[in-house]
């Protein structure tokens, strides 16, 4: 074999022109039967971002300080999942509040309220750290100006979606909105989801909720997400339920 020269080690892919039709990793070339190093490292980097996001933590200092502008009490809560490895293996524990959190909520529950807003790390605290403030800056004034009373803001560590049921019930809220980090993908590690539940109570399942997914600057924008959430909240109060029966027909409002 002749001396190998730089730039000769892998084949360019003849299908390069097909890349315009899909974000899938097509036409990535090959060296022998294997994926060329550049592609291999790009994949590794995307996975590294996703893994770091799974193990990221809520930035409580930053979030509490940022949330002060809404002039609402901010409560720091924790699920029964004590640490991340347990959280990943015991989704049941991530759905329940620990005892200290229940006590704290009792102290703050005076009267009925309309909307409980909960922010939980879920599977990507990074998503929540990055996106919460921008969304709430649009959403909270929208809710308040429509006459809805917003209860204390709750920050939850090691929380799953259904922990909003427990919190909403403790706060006697008519509706809960939980903002939570979604499972990171290779294309985005900072996607935030919002779940809306009317009359939250322990034991509800996913069919009782409405979900808005992929909230991030390069996904569903904050303005669009806030609009969808506000629409669903209004519809939930109008029909007095949420979930599969409540359709997201927000698009019709524009027409």
């Amino acid at each position: 074999m002749d001396e190998v020269k730089t730039g000769e080690v892998f084949h360019d892919d003849p299908l390069h022109s097909l890349k315009q039709f899909t974000a899938a990793r097509i036409a990535i070339g090959r060296t022998g039967a294997s994926i060329p190093l550049g592609q291999s490292l790009a994949f590794k980097l995307a996975h590294a971002h996703a893994r770091d996001a799974v193990y990221s933590e809520l930035d409580i200092d930053m979030l509490s300080s940022n949330l002060k502008q809404f002039e609402l009490p901010v409560l720091l809560l924790h699920s029964k999942a004590a640490y991340r490895e347990q959280y990943l293996q015991r989704p049941d524990l991530g759905r329940e509040l620990d005892n200290n959190s229940v006590d704290l909520l009792k102290d703050h529950c005076h009267d009925k309220t309309d909307v409980a807003i909960i922010v939980a790390d879920g599977l990507s605290a990074t998503a929540v750290n990055h996106n919460t403030l921008s969304l709430l800056k649009i959403l909270i004034p929208q809710l308040q100006s429509s006459g809805l009373q917003v209860s204390p803001l709750c920050l939850v560590k090691q929380g799953r979606v259904a922990i909003a049921d427990h919190i909403g019930m403790c706060l006697k809220a008519k509706l809960s909105i939980i903002l939570i980090g979604e499972r990171p993908g290779l294309s985005a590690a900072d996607s935030m989801g919002a779940y809306i539940t009317y009359e939250p109570k322990v034991g509800l399942t996913d069919e009782s909720r409405n979900c808005i997914s992929n909230i991030r600057p390069h996904g569903l924008t904050f303005k669009a997400a806030s609009k969808k959430i506000f629409y669903l909240v209004q519809e939930a109060f109008r029909f007095k339920f949420s979930g599969v029966g409540l359709k997201d027909n927000a698009g019709h409002l524009d027409s």
Binding site: L18, T22, S34, Q89, G185
Partner: protein
């Protein structure tokens, strides 16, 4: 009936067969989540020692989910082949393990007894086997199925080309499909997970795949992995349905959560068979399974997730499927926490499926919240290649942009074929050579541009 084993001064008691099976199961997060796992290392081994002494016959007399309450139990008991069972009738679970590993227990013998083995027997014996044992016995099994090509022959290794797209965009799907074909992928099936289950959208995708297949005379089959009721509707409308897909589980309740039962599957099987679209055979069903689905539907009845999984194979076996695929790492770390658990589960599923006579493939995969990475998948791929797995997935660059998880790439399939000397399905291999995609040794052609590509470039301009 209760079971027990004494170690030193401590006697471990297991109240019934399902408890014994659960405690004997190798450690995994899903069984802990379900509260059925062994409580200590010693507890687990005590259960395995006790399980080794249980006669295989016991599984025919003691149902782990009541016969009256579960149609899968009824299917298992009512369809048991007593004649096939005769050869192993007198063995205990432990003796069965040793017998399976004997040199004299060859491919033909294993094929003869397959219908005599119940899912619970297979699950039980797998719990006494190391990974090496699972590989050694699976390698002896050979399950061959046919539609437009022949899948599962020894020395051959197939792939499902999985050209998914987040919005089912036909051009996006076609781009991934062409990429895959030019890497030699797609002999098991070209199978799309649709973003929506609407009959019209599914029909568009079926037409797309069928047109490409016919235009280039590709000896393979296509499938859109929609719900069985959607497929039935499409068959009535005359859509080009090659294979009927469905996710299945191992309990009646878990199948209800999928919106199916045996009567519905019977109907779908007959309808798909009646189309007679196969050319070399008429295995028309494609099933997917995966440990943990019963627990996630709260339909496990206190049975461990591996035993539940194998019970699902009784459902598959009823329909002579072309392909059965265990999607092993998709479900998440609350069921299979890390690479070690995923690898073990995949080897168990492959072994148990093969022992029962099923054409097992494995979606070698993981999600980003599991403690696993590409290295774990490389290990599993190599182990399954050695074990004689029928097929794996082929996803562009391992990254499924629709389902958001990582599976095996087109390149991965080339790697395993190269290092183990495995070949695609014979009819498909012949086509790859004819198209100038691979040479006679199975290597991708480097210099010449395949005819297919030239023609497709023309197609693309239209």
């Amino acid at each position: 009936m209760s079971y027990h084993h004494t170690i030193g001064r401590k006697t471990y008691r297991f109240s019934d067969l399902k408890t014994l099976l659960a405690k004997a199961s190798p450690h995994r997060s899903g069984d802990i989540l379900a509260g059925v796992a062994a409580e200590s290392y010693e507890d687990r081994v005590a259960a395995q020692i006790a399980l080794a002494d249980v006669p295989l016959k016991t599984f025919l007399n003691e149902a782990i989910i009541a016969y009256e309450h579960d149609e899968i139990t009824r299917l298992i008991i009512d369809n048991h082949d007593a004649i096939a069972f005769n050869l192993i009738n007198s063995l205990t679970v432990g003796e069965f393990r040793d017998w399976l590993l004997k040199d004299e227990t060859d491919t033909v013998t294993l094929q003869k007894i397959a219908l005599g083995i119940t899912p619970e027997m297979a699950a039980a014996v797998s719990k006494l086997m190391r990974n090496q044992d699972l590989i050694a016995v699976a390698k002896k099994c050979e399950v061959v199925t046919r539609f437009r090509n022949t899948i599962g022959l020894k020395g051959h290794f197939s792939t499902r080309l999985q050209p998914n797209h987040p919005t089912d965009d036909p051009k996006g799907i076609a781009a991934s499909m062409i990429d895959g074909l030019l890497y030699g992928s797609g002999d098991a099936v070209v199978g799309i997970n649709p973003a929506t289950d609407s009959p019209a959208e599914v029909n568009t995708l079926l037409m797309l795949m069928d047109t490409l297949r016919q235009q280039f005379d590709i000896p393979t089959q296509s499938c859109v992995l929609c719900h069985v009721t959607t497929t039935l509707e499409l068959i009535r409308q005359g859509a080009p349905v090659d294979l009927c897909f469905q996710s299945i589980g191992g309990t009646e309740k878990s199948n209800s959560s999928f919106g199916i039962n045996l009567a519905l599957l019977d109907e779908a099987y007959e309808a798909t068979q009646s189309l007679n679209r196969g050319t070399v055979g008429n295995n028309v069903m494609y099933f997917e399974t995966g440990q943990g689905s019963e627990l996630s539907a709260n339909a496990h009845h206190g049975v461990d997730q591996q035993t539940c999984e194998v019970r699902g194979y009784a459902v598959a076996r009823r329909y002579n499927p072309l392909l059965v695929n265990t999607v092993v790492g998709f479900i998440g770390p609350e069921y299979l926490y890390d690479g070690k658990q995923i690898i073990r589960a995949a080897l168990e599923d492959h072994f148990c499926g093969k022992l029962l006579g099923l054409p097992m493939g494995v979606d070698i995969c993981y999600t980003n919240h599991a403690e696993a990475d590409q290295d774990d998948m490389d290990n599993l791929l190599t182990l399954l290649g050695v074990a004689g797995c029928n097929f794996i997935m082929g996803v562009p660059g391992s990254d499924d942009i629709m389902l958001n998880y990582q599976s095996t790439s087109f390149h991965d399939a080339l790697y395993i074929r190269n290092v183990l000397g495995l070949r695609p399905a014979p009819e498909f291999e012949h086509w790859l050579i004819k198209q100038g995609i691979t040479d006679n040794s199975g290597m991708l052609m480097t210099q010449t541009t395949p005819h297919l590509l030239n023609e497709i470039k023309g197609l693309w301009m239209k």
